[in-house]
Every structure is written in C-alpha cells, then in structure tokens.
C-alpha cells in the first residue's frame, strides 16, 4: 500500500484514503479533433515500467486531486504536486533526472 503526501492538506495519506485517476498530464481533445488525436486522448496510455506521472484524489481526506511522480517498478515516489498544472514542476523533473539518468522525460 503506497503512501503519498497530499500537497493540498499535507497529510501523508495511505492508499486506502486515496482513489487513483490514471495517467496525468493528458491533453483533452474535444470536438474538432482528428480521429487519431481523440483515440490517443481516450485510449493511448504510456503504462511505463519506470517513471510515471499519475492522478490521485485524496478522496477520504480533503477531497482534492493531486499529481504524483513515481516509479511503477520500484514504487519510489519522486514527489507529489497540485493538479493545477499542465506539466511536472522543474524541481521534481530535476530530482528524477538525478536518480534516473536514463529517463527520457515525461513526454
């Protein structure tokens, strides 16, 4: 069971307090988008073995969504940050690069 720190209320929350929301930093494609764009938005997920950015909601706590950067293989957590952003914060990216020199970036 993971422990993730909620960046909104500061609680180190156990997984039972959280609900998962899949991959983070997806760009929404609505009407007017091509079939390929919409398909990728709907169905294509990175599902990496390694560094991953995820959406979590502190569902049984403050109720806020937040984002987490973690390694899916080792469960190491690089950091959590508020959901109101379209890309990972620079300090977390720097931390990941230092720990995982082979990492190709979040895109």
């Amino acid at each position: 069971m993971l422990i993730l720190e909620c960046p909104c209320c500061g609680v180190k929350a156990e997984e039972t307090e959280l609900s998962p929301g899949g991959e983070a930093h997806l760009k929404r494609f609505g009407p007017g988008s091509s079939d390929e764009e919409f398909e990728a938005y709907m169905f294509a997920r990175k599902n990496p073995k390694g560094v991953h950015f995820e959406r979590w909601r502190h569902a049984y706590g403050c109720g806020k969504w937040f984002l987490a950067a973690r390694c899916t293989a080792t469960l190491e957590v690089f950091g959590t940050y508020p959901a109101q952003t379209s890309e990972p914060p620079a300090d977390i990216v720097a931390k990941i690069k230092a720990k995982r020199p082979d990492w190709k970036g979040y895109k």
Binding site: M1, I3, G30, M42, L75, Q84
Partner: protein, 1003 residues
C-alpha cells in the same frame, strides 16, 4: 516406533498433561507440545495421505514448512481444515482428524492411483480429459470433483471472532531467534521504536536446540538476557505467536497473531491481523532445511534431520528407536549426536561426501557412530513406516551393497535461507555456490518511497548460517536499520557465538547421482502434490524451460507449503535436465502470504451486519416498522415493496402500482442524489457536463438532463432545477451521487481550474418524498400553506414554501407519468413529514410504494433507467434521446466521442418497446435471435431486453429493449428464446405504453 523419552524436553511441562483425540483415538500429551510432537509421542507417524496418489504420509518437519501433516481441527463452528500439526499448539480437549482418504487413514481406496502412477505423470490433467468432449461433463468432471480438494469445507458458521489492529514502528524485526533478538537489541538501544515478532510461542529459534554457546554461555542464557533487556525498553514491543506473512509497498507489513487458537472459546478473538507500517524491516526469518531426493524419501519415518533434532531436544520425543542419518553436510551430525546423547540408536550416518573431516563428524565418530562416506541411500524400505534402508555408492547407479534396519531416517540436503519477506517487494537473490542456496543480494534490495532499502536481511535469512556469522550479521542489520532512520547505534561489542567449525557441504540433487528411471520415479520433491524427480525431468523433455511454467505444469511447489521444502531441489533437477546453471533457471516468484492466513483474519470485524456501512434514509425506521422488503441500492437500503399480510411481493407491487395510478402513492425518494452547483461559471460548467443546455434554464424551472463520459456513453441522468441566478441543483440517480460529485470535482480541479464554480453534495441534507397519483394535489391542499395549483406550480417547475407547517421545496416532476410532486424537507424533519403525509393521505387512499412499483411505472411510461437501459456502451442516440442532446453547443463531455463513425452506424441496436404476442413476460436479460450462426456456431442475435415487467395497468407483459434498427421496424416480430427451451415472440412497439401524450402528469 516413535515415543516420548523419559527425560528432557526443553519446551514441555510434564506436570501439565493434555488429552486430545486423533481420528477419535484418545491420546495424551503435555503443555508445550505441538500437535505433531504429541502425535509422535503416541507413535502416530502416519497422519495423512498425499493429494494425487494417496500415498501414506508422515510428519516430515517441525515448523511452517511441513507439507504432509495437515489435519482437520475442531468441530462444528470451530472446524478448520488443513491445519498444520507442526505449528498447532496442543491444548486439552483438542480434536483432530486426518484428511484426504476414504474410507480410513490406514486403508484408503484412492491408493489405486499409486499403482497407476506411471499413467499419471506430470501434466496428466492437460493431456487427458480432452476427448470425447461429452465425457468431460458426464464422466471426468464428476470423478475429478469427487477426488479433488484437500480437507473438508467447514459447514457451520465460524463461531469465532477476529480483529484487526494497526501498529507503527521504526524497525520491524520479523523472527525472534538469536538473530532477531540481537537486531532488535541494537535498534532498540539506538532509540528506535521496535516491534519484534516471533511466529512460535517461544523465543530463541534454533540456537538453543543446536547447542550454540554465546559469550561462553548456553544460547538460552543469551535469549533470557536479551528478552529481559528488550522488555525493559519502552520503545520495544515483543509479540509471540505472530507471523509477519507479507511485506508490501512502502514498509507495509501484515502479520497474523494466533491469539486464542490454543485456548478456543475463552472469549478472546481467535486471530488478530496486524497492519503495520514500518520504517525498516529486518528479516531475521532463519533458514529451512532441504530434503534429499532418494527413492522412497516420502515413506513415513523419513524426516528432516533438524526436525528429528527438534523433536528430541524440544519435546523429548524420539521419532524412532533406530535412526539412520543421511546428509551432504556437517550440520546433520548434530542430529546423530543428539539422538545418541538421548540414548537412542544411530546405526549409521550416510554421507554423500567422499571426505568427511569436520569437528561434528569427529565428535560423532568419538561417540562410536558409524559413518559411511561417499554413500547414498539407494532405497527406503517399508510402506506405512520405514523398516530399513538399502545403501550404496553416491557415485553409482543404485546397486545396494547393504541393508540397514531402522525405523526412521533423518535427512539433510543443506539449508535454504527464508528469503520470502526480502523478495515480496522485489528484493533480488544471488546464488551462493558454496552453500548451494539463494540468499538476499544486498546490492539489490526491495526499496521504499525514497528509493532506499526497505528490508534488511539478518542472520541465517541472509545466508549467515554458522552461529558466529549469524550473530555478527544480525548486529550489523540492527545497526543499519537504525542508521537508515537517522538514529545512532550505541557502540557495543557484538556477542560472539561459538560453534564447531563446519566443513563445506556438497550439493546433492539426486541420490545416488546415477539413479535410473525406476528409482527416480520414487524420489519425491513435492510431498503434498506428489511431484517426483521424474516428473520435472519429463517436463524438461517436453520443452518446459521456464521455472514458472514447469511449476504450473508439474504442480511443483503449488501445495499449501508453497514449495518451502521442494523448490530448490526441483529447480536444481530442472537446471540439470536443461544443462543450465541453477542461477540461470532462477526461482519462482515469492508472493505473500508466507504461510496460509485465515480468511476470517483478513475479514476481521467486517462481517455480518457490519460487513459494509449501511445508508439509511430519515424514514428508514418507519419502513422497517411497516415490514417493508428492502433491496440494496448502492450502500442504501430502499423498500422494494410493502407487502401486507398474506401478500406475495409480486402481489404487493401490483397493488402499489394500481393504487398509485388510481389514487395516491408515496415514495421515499431521499436517496436521490442532490448536488448544488454554484458560482459565476456554474451555467457554463453544467453546459459542459450535460448533453443539453442548462445555462438557459430560467430560475424556478426544472429540466431533465443526461450526462455522458468522454466516450459519449451515458453515465447518469436526472432533473436539474435552477435555484437562482448562479445556483443550480442537480438530481442524480440514487447510486450515482458520490460518483457524479467526484466527476464534477475532477473536471473543476484538473481541467477547468480557473472556472469559478463550487459544488456541494447535499444528498443527505434533505429528505425527499414523491407524492404521486390523481389525488396528489388534494393531499397537499389539505396540508395547506402554499399554492400547488396547476397555474401556480405548473409541470417542470419548483417552488419554496410551507406544507402543513413543514418548510419545503416542491418540484413538479414525474417519473411515473402521474400528477406528481417531489417534496424536499430538511433531513431532520423527514420522518415527521412522511408521517404527516401518510396520516393526512389516508382519506385519499394514500399508500407507500417501493422501488419495484417505481420501476414498473417508469417502464410503462418508457422512461429509461441508468443501469438497465444503459451498460456503459449505450449512447443517448441509441436510446432515441436525440432531443436531449444539444446540436448547438460547441462542446460538452461526450460530444466528440459520439461523433465516432461506428456510433453512427444505422445497424446499432436502439431502444424500442416490446409487446409479447401472448401477453407473457419476457425473461430478464433475454436476447433476440436472428437467422444463421456466427463464427463460433452460436445463433446470431439482433437485440436484447433491458427492462421487462408485468404491467398491472395494462394487464400484460411489457418490456424495453435494444433492437437492431429497432425504431425502423415498428410492428415487426422478434423472438426471445427462454432458458430451458421454448421462446417468446414480441412485437416491436413504441416504448411508451401508457398515456402516450403525457396528459396525466400535466393536469
């Protein structure tokens, strides 16, 4: 024979005799015995039958690794199958029976499988039962079912209770042997909060049995001193009978404590599940001895050398009068010495190594024990009990040079560290060539949230087998754990353990090494599942190269002991067959739990009435008092109907429908989801959420709306009311309130976070009652307080006011097609309001109605129900709800999804009404069949029923369904086969069966 010795036994209290029964036979043991020890003391070596061949099985081990000695324990509500006698503590009045045999343990018919063994090789199940196809159902399956399964399923409800507890610590030490004690001491002295868990009821592990000396004193003295010091530390918690069985993410550990297993019925919980969060986990779980693979190594009386030693030293039980020891290492000589010192006969030690030089063999020689070097057991004699062994050359092919009479064999193939806790979260292993075992690779540990090592292996569990190394390693592990958490271990000299120097062991995977097929067919690897050396070799010949595949194909290591004894031997045999190195073949994956855990402990208190939380409306008690029949709706319990004396549920529903249509019905609609959406951007937000336009809804009015997911599939529906300029109240389905509220928050927080909108789920703040039927207005007028006339409060409007003194909000909306008011009052006034309506409504024929009546009435009107007409693959257009999908809006959730080409396919199944030709009711979930068959030879289908009821209003069966090109085929007939033969024909009609023009709701 096996018997109790007159002296000794460090764990038993000879003053406290305990009576128990085995297969109805009365036996006697002592307090401190395990059931296995007590059985042996009563000469009960034969305790069960193997799974496949029903071969006689005796006790092999003395701990959690025991594969054979599993019994049914207890009776009635305390009956438990597959209990391991080697870890079961004896208590007065214990009852146990053996399992997996018929008619009796001594005479088992199933043993014919043994004589047919050559026809039942590895993968037998995959190779047989294929042809003829009909034979599976009528012949093979009944026989397999009859003979399958180990132990009996308990029939009665569990009489015991279980509980769960949480604990937090810096350092969790798993294992209370000398290594665990030393690690706990070091971490505890450094100030860490320590929890030390030991699976057995006593501390110290193997060291006291093996005669280890620590700092010049017997190991017992060290254990005692360590316990005294640990008990005095406030930051240390000690717990025996507690098995840390699984390590999970970020230092989460589950442990099962056997609280009252040995004192049944004393009022305490039987088991306690500990959910522990630890900063670091020290795995001091010791090691398990491996068997040797020689012909007949499964005959009762053949035991692990360490187990024989345990029984003699711990419980003063001799497994046999004459015990032959067979080994490939020095450690087994401890057993020979212990037996000799207990006054028992050791006819010979058969050592596979050509040169035997260590201190222990020297001591054995000095005691006059005969040692046969470079030798092997060629074959064990006996069937239900060992009668002797034939010995020969280990280097040979199995020619016997001598037979030695004996009634027990103590075998040792070396030791495997218990690496389970290390491996559960991904810790990697290295192959130790010298000791021929896998041990934790400190360079590749399982890691925790910050990327540091989560588990630290200590002592024998780390491959440090000799006592001296073991203690030094544990000292290091305890310090490492404390340091990792920022604590400073005190400088103290680690205790030094002295033990005789041991010479190198020699890996022996089969005995003798040149054994032919006849012998290999009798060399057991997995005792419980009857997997032999020949089976693994056959799997290799058939092309199985992966250890994981071989495990599943042969069932090696899939028994309840999960390969604790057999796995290393099995994969060594596989590696040999594949001409590969053992590390290249690798191990199977270690998964929790380490030993079987009682389901009751995992469930804890969550059973019966408190299995899950129940949600009750403010009027729940009234419904109960009326004898309502409830149905679950999400976590809610809602009245399905209110049966009267002598009425069936069906009759009650029909009465409720007719009464509501003709007079007056009252529905507790409090469970309906109510979400307030408020703010300057609320209208814009709702326009994105709903498929139709909500921003244009005038204050005071209501509008029905649909919500879709991004794929364009229906997710929820309900009536939205505009409360004021920037406030809307969204009704959701009963089960959908929390989900839809979360959905709204998701979009507001993660996508449109700059929009000024607030949401609040106020579902439980209001009680809501639907007042339905031709007399609805009369009732409200009688209560009085506000104008509810057609002119003042027309259909699809709402108004705040007072009725009969209750502050309320009245919505004129209808899910039944009748004149209908849904009235919300503060939850605290719900019961009083409900009673007032019932009392005042009596003269108008008011009756409460339940959810089934609601369903029938909405189906008569052709109203869809989320979850009936929808299943996550249905769009609003499939349900002919085009009118509720905006064409003007540039965007809303699901708009792009609905534009996908396949959703525009005219062949899609669409909503229609279905009217049976004979008036009967179509079975729920029935499919309409079309001509021809599909690629699998199944009938083609062209539609399915989504709602089907008997309509008491129309006095016939009505249904809604999705049918291919349905709306274009009005008047056509489709056919629905019934389960068990026959079919129902139905005409495609409009889904609105009743009051097609909607005049009744509009009066």
């Amino acid at each position: 024979m096996s018997t109790r010795l007159a002296r000794g036994g460090r764990l038993i209290d000879r003053g406290a005799a305990q009576e128990f029964t085995f297969n109805g036979k009365r036996m006697k043991g002592f307090k401190g015995d395990t059931l296995a020890a007590a059985l042996l003391a009563n000469d009960q070596m034969l305790v069960g039958r193997s799974f496949k061949y029903h071969r006689p099985r005796g006790i092999v081990a003395s701990g959690a690794e025991e594969p054979n000695a599993l019994v049914n324990m207890g009776e009635g509500g305390r009956f438990e199958p597959n209990q391991r006698t080697t870890t079961t503590e004896l208590f007065d009045g214990l009852t146990a029976t053996s399992q997996n045999h018929w008619p009796s343990l001594e005479f088992d018919v199933g043993v014919v499988n043994n004589y047919a063994a050559r026809f039942l090789p590895a993968g037998f199940y995959y190779k047989t039962f294929i042809h003829p196809r009909a034979a599976w159902k009528h012949l093979f399956e009944p026989i397999v079912r009859q003979s399958a399964g180990l132990g009996k399923v308990p029939k009665d409800r569990d009489a015991d209770r279980y509980e769960q507890a949480y604990a937090f610590c810096d350092v969790l030490v798993a294992g209370g042997g000398v290594a665990g004690l030393q690690a706990a001491l070091v971490a505890g002295r450094a100030g860490a909060r320590v929890i030390l868990l030991e699976q057995a009821p006593h501390w110290g592990g193997r060291a006291p049995v093996d005669g280890v000396e620590i700092d010049g004193k017997p190991a017992e003295a060290f254990v005692e001193a360590a316990l005294a010091e640990l008990s005095a530390m406030e930051n240390v918690t000690l717990r025996t009978r507690c098995m840390a069985f699984g390590v999970y993410d970020h230092g989460y550990v589950l442990a099962e404590e056997r609280v009252a297993d040995h004192t049944p019925g004393d009022g305490r919980p039987k088991k306690r599940l500990w959910r522990i969060r630890a900063g670091r986990i020290v795995s001091a779980t010791g090691a398990i001895e491996r068997p040797l693979s020689f012909a007949g190594n499964d005959i009762p009386g053949v035991m692990l050398a360490s187990a024989v030693r345990d029984y003699v030293v711990n419980w003063a039980v001799s497994p046999g009068d004459r015990t032959v020891v067979v080994t490939n290492n020095d450690d087994a000589y401890r057993t020979a010495i212990a037996l000799k010192e207990a006054g028992l006969d050791v006819p010979a030690v058969i050592d596979a190594r050509p040169n035997v030089t260590g201190d222990l063999p020297a001591k054995a020689r000095a005691l006059g024990i005969r040692i046969e070097t470079g030798s092997a057991i060629v074959k064990v004699k006996g069937s239900k009990r060992v009668t002797g062994v034939a010995i020969g050359l280990q280097a040979g092919e199995g020619a016997a040079r001598e037979e030695i009479a004996c009634d027990a064999v103590a075998m040792s193939g070396g030791w495997s560290p218990v690496v389970h806790l290390w491996s559960h979260c991904g810790g990697k292993l290295v192959w130790d060539e010298a000791a021929a075992h896998f041990r934790p690779d400190a360079a590749r540990p399982p890691i925790t949230h910050d990327g540091s090592a989560m588990v630290i292996a200590a002592g024998a569990a780390n491959g440090a087998l000799p006592a001296g190394e073991c203690l030094a390693d544990a000292d290091r592990a305890g310090a490492e754990a404390a340091q990792a958490l920022g604590m400073k271990p005190k400088k103290a000299k680690a205790p030094e353990a002295a033990a005789p120097a041991e010479a190198r062991m020699e890996p022996v995977w089969i005995m003798p090494q040149g054994a032919g097929p006849a012998l290999r067919m009798k060399m057991w690897l997995d005792y419980q599942n009857d997997v032999k050396v020949s089976d693994v070799q056959l799997a290799a010949r058939e092309g199985y190269t992966s250890v994981e595949h071989t495990k599943r194909y042969t069932t090696l290591g899939m028994a309840t002991d999960q390969g604790k004894l057999s796995n290393i031997n099995g994969l060594a045999v596989l590696a040999d067959s594949l001409n590969a190195e053992i590390p290249q073949v690798g191990t199977t994956t270690f998964r929790p739990p380490y030993t079987p855990v009682t389901i009751g402990a995992l469930a804890g208190e969550s059973r019966g009435d408190i299995f899950q939380p129940l949600r009750r409306t403010p009027m729940h008690a009234w419904h109960e008092a009326q004898g309502a029949y409830f149905e679950p709706v999400g976590l809610w319990r809602r009245p399905y109907c209110y049966p009267r004396a002598g009425e069936t549920h069906e009759q009650a529903v029909h009465r409720e429908v007719t009464n509501t249509r003709e007079r007056l019905g009252l529905l507790d609609a409090s469970t309906l989801g109510k979400i307030i959406v408020k703010g300057p951007d609320a209208g814009r937000f709702l326009d994105m959420l709903y498929t139709n336009v909500m921003s244009s809804l005038p204050v005071g009015k209501c509008r029905y709306g649909l919500m879709c997911n991004e794929q364009g599939f229906l997710s929820d529906d309900g009536v939205v009311a505009r409360i004021d300029e920037d406030t809307w109240l969204c009704h959701t389905t009963s089960g959908g309130a929390d989900r839809i509220h979360a959905w709204m928050e998701d979009w507001l927080q993660c996508e449109w976070w700059d929009w000024k909108v607030y949401t609040a789920n106020v579902t439980e703040q209001y009680a809501q009652v639907a007042v339905v039927g031709p007399n609805a207005r009369k009732l409200l007028e009688k209560l009085g307080g506000m104008d509810v006339s057609r002119e003042a409060l027309p259909f699809m409007q709402w108004a705040d006011g007072e009725l009969g003194g209750f502050r309320c909000r009245v919505y004129r909306i209808s899910f039944s097609g009748e004149l209908s008011y849904e009235i919300a009052v503060p939850a605290s006034e719900g019961m009083a309001f409900w009673k007032a309506l019932n009392d005042a409504g009596a003269e108008f024929g008011a009756m409460p109605y339940g959810t089934e009546c609601l369903h029938v009435m909405r189906a008569e009107k052709g109203f869809i129900m989320i979850g009936d007409e929808t299943d996550g693959t249905v769009t609003p257009l499939d349900l002919c709800l085009d009118w509720a999908v905006s064409k003007k809006k540039a965007d809303f959730l699901g708009k792009r999804g609905m534009q996908r080409t396949y959703l525009a396919n005219p062949e899609r199944w669409k909503l229609v009404g279905l009217e049976t030709l004979d008036g009967s009711v179509i079975p729920d979930g029935a499919y309409a069949v079309a001509p021809g068959v599909n690629g699998n030879g199944q009938r083609n289908t062209e539609g399915r029923v989504t709602s089907t009821y008997y309509s008491p209003t129309l006095k016939r069966g009505i249904a809604m369904g999705l049918v291919r090109r349905g709306p274009e085929r009005m008047g056509e007939t489709v056919e629905f086969p019934k389960v068990g033969g026959g079919s129902v024909k139905a005409r495609i009609v409009s889904p609105v069966f009743y009051d097609k023009d909607g005049e009744k709701q509009n009066v």
